[in-house]
């Protein structure tokens, strides 16, 4: 498995892979000892198959709420009510929050 990841990193790293011929790609795969289904998935640019072979499903990638939920009771936003311990935690830019 790790040789597959290393191979992907190598391809991601360098411009020469953009328009590589199938023959050269086959050679590079052989040099990296990548065989069988991994080899065909990469040759066919079959990302879905590669995910299956590496036992990966699509991760969740949301990291922001559209609308912030209220804080749970007792919790306090750092930076509020003069609780600052360090001036570096002041927001760099101030702006109007919700009305």
């Amino acid at each position: 498995m790790s040789n597959v990841i290393q191979f992907l990193e190598k391809v991601g790293n360098a411009a020469q892979w953009d328009d590589v011929t199938e023959g050269k790609l086959e050679l590079a795969l052989a040099e990296a000892d990548i065989e069988g289904p991994f080899r065909s998935a990469i040759l066919n640019k079959d990302v879905a198959q590669l995910q299956v072979l590496l036992q990966q499903k699509e991760p969740v990638c949301f990291v922001i709420p559209g609308e912030e939920e209220e804080e749970e009771e007792g919790e306090e936003e750092p930076g509020e009510k003069g609780q600052l311990k360090d001036a570096r935690c002041l927001p760099r830019v101030r702006f109007a929050s919700r009305s």
Partner: protein, 262 residues
Amino acid sequence: MNNTPAKGSLACVGIGMTLGSHLSARTRSYIEQADVAFVLVSDGIIELWLQDMNKDVRSLQPYYQEGKSRMKTYRQMVEAMLTEVRAGKRVCGVFYGHPGVFAWVPHKAIETARSEGFSAHMEPGISSEDCLYADLGIDPGARGCQHYEASQFMLYRRCIDPSAWLILWQIGIAGDRTLKRFSTGEAHRQVLVDVLARHYPLDHEVVVYRAATLPFQSPRIECLALERLPLAEVGMADTLAIPPARPLEADDEIRSRLAALV
């Protein structure tokens, strides 16, 4: 002898979008030199790649659960990182794209760490926004470019300029007020189309965009009429790009004031 324990620190770094292509040398060294690296990425294969860069790599994925508020999930992620910072560790939060772009968790973690007196740093990365400009051939400076989180765009009245680009993020969960879903469907996207129809004709062409996360992958660039958006297949990592629908409008009053100055 100084017995003060090593003080914890936090770095939230961005690894860019595509495996092997966007990681800066500095970001790599933050990951490699951390005592513990927490990762949140948009491709499982990228997570495998990161596991080789540090001996203590912890995925933040297990905090997500359908039916659980994402706000709770986000707070738990912040807390997980902060717990290790408080224990005196050098912590690296590794995020796909840019850690400060449409990303509550890294901003909150840094703010909290600083408020507790720890050193905290954000290291930028190549965002999906950057890939969008490159893949769609857009220069945000040419006509201007507005960015909104899709649900926030629906829930609040915004002053939209249809003569500039409009980019909507997280369209896969557009209109989800529960914060508990990983996808919304046709009905929610129809409401989004109705909001957009205040500013754009229904036959206006829009683009569903997804940047490549693996090196030999092609980006998704699917053009469709706005009215067809509800029926389109839209996933967690898709972004909606709406081209300008109107020409730039000259401000004659300001132009004559400026002309009078010369």
